[in-house]
């Protein structure tokens, strides 16, 4: 799930950036307080969605069980893993799906640690780790494929439209010269 989301949020930045209207920072417009960010945590009775936005507007989104704790630490850990194994990988191009083995391995490890820390108390595993497993198995069944597409499509639509994008970030810390396709502010 998280790997899908990397693809999602990175694609979103470049391809969909032109659709991103500057006035679409809903949560900060409607905020009763000054200086609000976008949605950081969204809760329903069945799941909790956590979002961590970096200074470069990369969004890490994790869906978990509502009772799961320690997700802030997990999100930071995932950011660390992303910067270590994806960004520092010379063969990885920005804004592309991440196909780095070490990244997958470490990510799986981090998710398992987070699950174990919780399952000691007898809680169910988080949604995030389930989907990462099904993503990594090579043989995806016919039933699974439409499921994935549906999820990705929904996340894409939502992430464009809804207030995860808080106030427009000064973003664009240029890391490499290849980021020419970013829409300038």
């Amino acid at each position: 799930m998280i790997k899908l989301l990397y693809h999602l949020v990175n694609a979103m930045e470049s391809e969909w950036a032109m659709l991103y209207c500057p006035s679409m920072d809903w949560t900060s417009t409607l905020s009763p307080e000054v200086g609000s960010t976008g949605i950081e945590m969204l809760e329903t009775d069945m799941f909790k969605l956590h979002c961590f936005q970096t200074l470069t507007a990369i969004k890490f989104i994790v869906l978990t069980d509502p009772r799961q704790s320690g997700i802030d630490a997990l999100l930071r850990k995932i950011y660390e893993i992303y910067s270590d194994f994806a960004l520092k990988n010379t063969f990885y191009s920005l804004e592309m799906p991440i196909r780095c083995e070490l990244f997958d391995q470490n990510l799986k490890g981090a998710l398992e640690i987070a699950d174990k820390a919780v399952s000691m108390l007898g809680k169910p595993t988080s949604l995030g780790s389930f989907l990462i497993n099904s993503r990594q198995t090579k043989e995806t069944t016919q039933q699974e494929r439409p499921e994935m597409d549906r999820v990705v499509l929904q996340l894409k639509l939502w992430a464009i439209n809804v207030a995860i994008m808080g106030p427009k970030l000064p973003a664009r810390f240029i890391l490499q010269d290849r980021i020419a396709h970013h829409v300038p502010n």
């Binding site: 809903w26 949560t27 900060s28 417009t29 409607l30 905020s31 009763p32 307080e33 000054v34 200086g35 609000s36 960010t37 976008g38 949605i39 950081e40 945590m41 969204l42 809760e43 329903t44 009775d45 069945m46 799941f47 969605l49 869906l63 949604l127 549906r150 999820v151 929904q154 996340l155 639509l157 939502w158 439209n161 809804v162 207030a163 808080g166």
Partner: protein, 145 residues
């Protein structure tokens, strides 16, 4: 810990009531636009949640939070939506919103033969009672800063 503001919408998206207690920053757009934006945002969030949910949802979308405030949401079976923006310290206001609906809205609006449902609520009694109720909440404090 404090309550910033409260909205009540009906099933068609028109805002029935809006109350403000501790709001620091205005939206920068007209009230009408703000209500439409709020309703539209929640409509999208609800549809998103129902599609992303791994299991069939019972209550649906409950709250979201940003770095500065938390938005609580309660919807009745008839489409009446009650939205409350509070501080981050408030844990779960669903019961409170339910109370607002059952003890205030139903009692003073629905049972009022003079109140036309679907329009801006013009009942003074409702407004004052709601105000008193909010001020009596344990997590409400008129913030000094």
């Amino acid at each position: 810990m404090t309550v910033h503001n409260l909205y009540i919408f009906d099933r068609n998206g028109s805002c029935l009531h809006y109350g403000e207690w501790n709001r620091k920053k205005q939206a920068g757009i007209s009230k009408e636009e703000e209500f439409k934006l709020m309703y539209g945002m929640l409509f999208s969030i609800r549809s998103f949640c129902s599609k992303m949910s791994p299991l069939d949802m019972k209550d649906g979308f409950l709250t979201f939070q940003t770095s500065k405030y938390k938005l609580h949401y309660y919807e009745t079976a008839t489409g009446i939506k009650i939205i409350m923006n509070t501080d981050l310290g408030v844990p779960n206001a669903r019961e409170i919103l339910h109370q607002i609906y059952s003890t205030l809205y139903v009692e003073y609006i629905v049972k009022n033969p003079l109140c036309v449902l679907g329009e801006q609520l013009s009942s003074d009694l409702f407004s004052t009672r709601l105000d008193l109720y909010i001020r009596a909440l344990p997590f409400f404090s008129p913030r000094a800063a």
